[in-house]
Amino acid sequence: MDDLNPLAGTAHLLEEVDKKLMVLLRDGRTLIGYLRSVDQFANLVLQRTIERIHVGNEYGDIPRGVFIIRGENVVLLGEIDREKEQKLPLKEISVDEILDAQRREQEQRQEKHRLVSKALKERGLAVDANIINEDFC
């Protein structure tokens, strides 16, 4: 690629502008919205964004509006295929239900981690809880 191009590296992101994208953040959240702008840091502007929460094969959408995302927090992004979007093998449920499901899933995970670290402790191993919490800070 032309080294003099100030947008080298983000140039192909320009082709995604005004498309409907799914953006995965480093904290695990999934945002879906229309990409309106990018810059040389891959900072993004998303419009009409929803946050989609998946638990098992169910999902729920929370309307969020306009985002300016700092590029370094993005893991991946990709265009949404409008045809495939119509026939998702997933079931949409209400926001309250998905939040409830997410909370239960979180509690289960914590319980599992508690048991794992207890077992490890009994065997004389100390584990930093933050590591197994998959917490990105």
């Binding site: 309106r36 993004l44 309307p63 509006g65 300016i68």
Partner: protein, 161 residues
């Protein structure tokens, strides 16, 4: 319109800033720079788990700690109006330049900028909540932060609903 230009356009508007560590800051944008460092006014800080709150009259946030910012929908509309006004201006300027070229004039100071002032008409939509943040607990703001009284302009509404 680059992301940072949009941020600049959002000055004086309410916004939600989430940091990489999960804390969220709700406030009105005072200023920002090209590193995304920002100044906020009338701020409510929410902890990562969403059940502790702090109010502060103003705060400064270093750009590199930011995860994302959420701004009101109408800010993007303002940008569109601005762009339209500018392109209208440009076509008018071009017309004028064409007309003046025979008269020995340099067209530098040509005309004001009609339509450039749309910016302030958008106003803040007070009903829109920027209190969501990382957790679904923004509703608890009213109860948990009783000492904050009624001065919770936009954070108290739960936009999960």
């Amino acid at each position: 319109m680059l992301p940072l230009s949009l941020l600049k356009t959002a000055q004086s508007h309410p916004m939600l800033v989430e940091l990489k560590n999960g804390e969220t800051y709700n406030g009105h944008l005072v200023s920002c720079d090209s590193w995304m460092n920002i100044n906020l006014r009338d701020v409510i800080c929410t902890s990562k788990d969403g059940d502790r709150f702090w109010r502060m009259p103003e705060c400064y946030i270093r750009g590199s700690t930011i995860k994302y910012l959420r701004i009101p929908d109408e800010v993007i509309d303002m940008v569109k109006e601005d762009a339209q006004a500018k392109s209208r201006n440009r076509t008018e300027m071009n017309k004028n330049r064409g007309g003046n070229s025979s008269q020995n004039q340099r067209g530098g100071g040509g005309g004001g900028r009609p339509g450039g002032g749309n910016r302030n008409n958008a106003g803040n939509r007070s009903g829109q909540g920027y209190g969501g943040g990382p957790s679904n607990n923004a509703m608890r703001l009213g109860g948990a932060a009783g000492q904050q009284g009624n001065r919770l302009p936009h954070a108290a509404k739960n936009n999960r609903k």
